[in-house]
């Protein structure tokens, strides 16, 4: 099972919710899909025992076969190829690895090469399996790392996917196929604005979702009102409290702190509840 934790807005507390849920839920696996800046390990302190490189396709030009027609250059949406004086110039760092240039070449002059874009680390920390994807700095696309990471997940586990912020390709790649989405927000206009985007995204992908209000206490009604209108349950609240910020800033797990664990237990409990209900809904169909 896949459970995605996303937010739209950055810095709302995706990682905080994801790691603490992973610690509380039975048979969980924490999967850091925020490949540009994976940082859940700061809370879980895993010892990584396995590291696997991720490669994507980049083209290579067979000079002897190339007629200099420029079909590949015209095809490339990302301008990773140029044609100068009848010769193709290649810019692998701009390439998104679609392979279209190979397909359109009538001379079979474009072949497959590989480019290393990052890695997947697997280990154990906080009493559970931890997986993280790491995209090399400057690489344009993290989706292949996320897809490879997800392909290796065990189906009998509750895989908590800590997603990147935003709503672009990496987020879509991460949440696709999820049984449920936990949308973390904060009770500000910024939080609400980006929550709306996240809700549109999960609805488009047909993923049922619930909301967690982080830094809760003031202005919650704007989020609650919106959730009511959209028919999205509020799974729980994490109060805006100095002590929580202190535990967080030291890389501590709130789920293991006697003062604050109840907030996460509540979220985990509600999540299990809606999941069983969702399952029931699916059976009815």
């Amino acid at each position: 099972m896949l459970i995605s934790v996303l937010s739209g807005k950055g810095g709302t507390g995706k990682t905080t919710v994801a790691v603490n849920l992973a610690v509380l839920l039975k048979n969980a696996c924490y999967v850091d899909c925020d490949v540009e800046e994976p940082n859940g390990h700061i809370f879980l302190n895993p010892v990584y025992s396995k590291s696997e490189r991720v490669e994507v396709m980049v083209p290579a030009i067979v000079k002897e076969k190339c007629s200099g027609c420029g079909e590949c250059v015209r095809f490339c949406y990302f301008n990773a190829l140029a044609l100068v004086k009848g010769k193709v110039l290649l810019f692998p760092e701009v390439c998104h690895g679609c392979g279209g240039c190979i397909h359109v070449c009538t001379q079979n002059a474009v072949t497959e090469d590989k480019k290393d874009i990052g890695r997947i680390d697997t280990g154990v920390g906080g009493g559970l399996e931890c997986i993280r994807g790491v995209l090399e700095i400057g690489e344009p696309v993290g989706v292949p790392i996320i897809k490879k990471m997800k392909a290796g997940l065990r189906e009998d586990r509750t895989n908590i996917l800590d997603c990147p912020p935003g709503s672009s390709c990496t987020v879509v790649g991460a949440i696709q196929g999820s049984s449920y989405a936990v949308l973390v927000t904060e009770p500000t206009n910024f939080g609400l604005h980006d929550l709306e985007i996240a809700v549109r995204l999960v609805k488009k992908l047909g993923i049922p979702a619930g909301v967690v209000i982080n830094r809760s206490g003031e202005g919650d009604e704007r989020i609650e009102e919106y959730c009511n209108t959209e028919g999205i349950p509020v799974l729980g609240r994490i109060p805006f409290a100095r002590g929580i910020a202190e535990v967080y800033s030291e890389g501590g797990l709130l789920a293991e702190d006697a003062r604050y664990s109840k907030y996460f237990e509540e979220i985990a409990h509600r999540l299990e509840e809606v999941l069983s209900r969702e399952a029931a809904c699916y059976y009815k169909r």
Binding site: V73, C76, Y77, F78, N79, A80, L81, A82, L83, V84, K85, K87, L89, F91, V94, P140
Partner: protein
């Protein structure tokens, strides 16, 4: 000979766009016919590789001299391969930039600025 000036407008009096890959227009001045052709920079709207697309467009137009503010590494590679000579100008208008080039007052661009330089700063300043 064709001289290409990166421009923010369509006139000879328009300000030079000091960015290359994300400039708005290319003013292409033909020194023999003394005519100017204005093209939209297709690279300006590309998702990535703007410098490469812009350089490709300039090369395809048969330009021999480029006048701009800064060049990124990828654009530079394309222009070098095509033998296009690039010259740096400060803030000025298109006509004046051509005059300065013809008077030998512009310096060739020897090294690129960092990638995405023109995206951080719309004026292309350093």
């Amino acid at each position: 000979m064709k001289i290409c000036i990166t421009s923010s407008g369509k006139e000879m009096g328009s300000a030079v766009d000091l960015r290359f890959g994300r400039c708005k227009y290319f003013c292409i001045y033909d020194t023999e016919s003394r005519e100017t052709k204005v093209l939209e920079n297709a690279g300006a709207y590309s998702q990535g590789g703007a410098g490469i697309a812009a350089a490709q467009q300039v090369v395809d137009e048969g330009v021999e001299v480029l006048i701009t503010g800064n060049l990124g590494p990828n654009a530079m590679r394309v222009l070098k391969a095509a033998g296009v000579k690039a010259y740096r100008t400060e803030e000025t208008d298109v006509a004046r930039a051509v005059m300065m080039y013809e008077a030998g007052q512009l310096q060739p661009i020897e090294s690129p600025v960092s990638a995405h330089h023109g995206m951080q700063n719309k004026r292309g300043d350093k």
